[in-house]
């Protein structure tokens, strides 16, 4: 199975098994990592699944939609490769993607 490599807020990094067809937010949540509120369940309305993609891999992803960019603009501590985890559809081609969970508010 493909894996998503996640760095949590305590700095620990670990690979998570990732089913294709789920979003990065769902992969993180379903693996028991409890750092994303993901309040709106992926409806682009809350900005609480903020992750930072490894800059070396950011270009491998489809770019954020205008609405995602607008939501990111409203967040604190945004990095150049910030994304909303709910908007990254995980599939086999993203095996080994590295993301860091953004600092919490």
């Amino acid at each position: 199975m493909a894996s998503l490599i996640v760095t949590t807020r305590d700095g620990a990094t670990r690979p998570l098994p990732a089913d294709a067809g789920l979003s990065v937010m769902e992969v993180i949540r379903d693996n028991g990592i409890d750092e994303l509120l993901a309040a709106c369940g992926g409806s682009l309305s809350c900005g609480t699944c903020h992750v930072i993609v490894d800059p070396a891999q950011a270009l491998a992803l489809p770019p954020p939609s205008e609405a995602e960019r607008e939501l990111l603009d409203g967040l604190d501590q945004v990095a150049p490769t910030s994304r909303l985890g709910c908007q990254i559809a995980f599939d086999g081609r993203l095996d080994g993607l590295r993301v860091t969970i953004a600092p919490g508010s």
Partner: protein, 424 residues
């Protein structure tokens, strides 16, 4: 004494929806060490309700994807999940709750997070087969099981639930009629500008809207609904009827135990009810809301459920903060992304920003020169920036806010006066 039916916990959470589940999650995030029970009357693990009338109804998302946390999470966090258990009595003196089957559970602190039950129509035929509410997974699955043979669907109620269901069902090829008693849809939530736009969208997609139309009753044939009789006498044929006319807060056991409240249970700034060590949160909690000018309201939303869960968890963990959170809501209908921030009730001015024809605009609601809410349609930037205006409490340049080429955050014209926080 039967050990199987008597147990005690430091925290008993009644209601395993968004608010209850998030309370348990937040307690463990705060490293609360006490024992926690999460009791729900549904058979399921805690799940997100909003998709029930959107992606789940449309068949685009499986139920597993609606789970707030996977099954293993609750065990890992030592949260004792008790699904399928309906609490129907509270004894605040003995600090125990009792389930319908007699199970008795003791608490040091009780968190009441039961939300509400779908309001039923009070009319002939309301209990016929083929008449559906849309509050739970079971409701949605029952509806889905009858959909394949249904051609004509009548939706009663033009709130978010009714509009979202109508959008999905007309998209699935059903002939949909939506009946609303008020003169416009979303009458409880929004102004007429947004309502008129949404009405036109739904009509353009093929939904028949019957506004200002009262229902007399539901007609049946062999015990199953076959049509909706209007007050005018007209019969609208229906193979299936969906009722989306709000919820009734599920607070009867608390009120019977002496908690103050009527439509919901009253809570203070940290979500305490009038009963000792009994809290209430989410849809069923009547609270003074800073973003409603301190008026006592109930808020039926994921935002309120999550943020009140945080408030009560901090209180239990010994780091109390008063509840203070800008309300926000969302809805998806067709390709429209509706986002609302703030509370429009009591506004004295509504300003259109952007172009309705382009299907990207916002309606900005003001009271006394300050922005109190925005309804944003495919306009996330306004939703984000408008929130800052609401939080600021500052006067705004009403001559500028209509101009979508001017950033909303540059429209302030006085010092910031954020809405008052309550004291604990």
């Amino acid at each position: 004494m039967s050990g199987a039916t008597v147990s005690d916990y430091d925290v008993v959470i009644v209601g395993a929806g968004q608010a209850g589940a998030q309370t348990a999650i937040a307690l463990r995030q705060l490293r609360y060490q006490g024992t926690v029970a999460l009791i729900g009357d549904e058979a399921e693990l805690p799940y997100e309700r909003p998709p029930l009338t959107k992606a789940y109804l449309a068949g685009e998302k499986s139920f597993e994807r609606l789970l707030i946390r996977p099954a293993a999470f609750w065990q890992e966090k030592a949260v004792d999940l008790r699904p399928g258990c309906r609490i129907d009595a509270v004894d605040p003196a003995a600090r125990r709750v009792t389930a319908a089957d007699g199970t008795s559970i003791g608490y040091r602190r009780l968190v009441w997070a039961t939300g509400g039950a779908a309001r039923r129509l009070d009319c002939p035929g309301a209990a016929l087969a083929g008449v559906h509410s849309m509050r739970s997974r079971a409701d949605a699955d029952r509806l889905a099981s009858e959909l394949p043979t249904a051609r004509q669907v009548v939706v009663i109620g033009g709130g978010y639930i009714g509009l979202e269901a109508a959008a999905v069902l007309v998209g699935a090829g059903k002939a949909v009629t939506l009946i609303e008693a008020q003169q416009h849809v979303l009458a409880r939530m929004s102004g007429t500008m947004l309502a008129r736009f949404l009405e036109a969208e739904h009509r353009a997609r093929g939904v028949t809207l019957r506004l200002g139309t009262a229902v007399h009753g539901i007609e049946g044939r062999d015990g199953t609904a076959c049509g909706v009789r209007l007050a005018s006498g007209e019969l609208v044929p229906a193979d299936l009827v969906i009722v989306g006319v709000g919820i009734v807060p599920a607070v009867a056991p608390l009120l019977a135990a002496g908690a103050r409240g009527s439509d919901g249970v009253e809570v203070d700034a940290v979500c305490r009810t009038s009963l000792p060590d009994v809290y209430a949160i989410g849809d069923c909690a009547t609270h003074a809301n800073a973003f409603a000018d301190g008026a006592r309201i109930r808020l039926e939303s994921v935002q309120n459920a999550n943020d009140m869960a945080g408030t009560v968890a901090r209180s239990i963990a010994g780091v109390a903060h008063p509840y203070y959170a800008v309300p926000w809501f969302w809805s998806n209908q067709y390709d429209l992304r509706l986002q609302t921030v703030g509370l429009a009730a009591g506004h004295d001015l509504a300003v259109l920003r952007g172009a309705i024809d382009a299907r990207s605009f916002s309606v900005i609601y003001l009271r006394n020169g300050r922005v109190v809410a925005l309804d944003c349609v495919n306009a996330t930037k306004d939703y984000i920036q408008g929130r800052k205006l609401i939080e600021s409490g500052a006067d705004v340049r009403t001559d500028l806010i209509a101009d979508s080429t001017v950033a909303l955050t540059t429209c302030l014209q006085s010092e910031c006066r954020p809405p008052m926080r309550s004291r604990i």
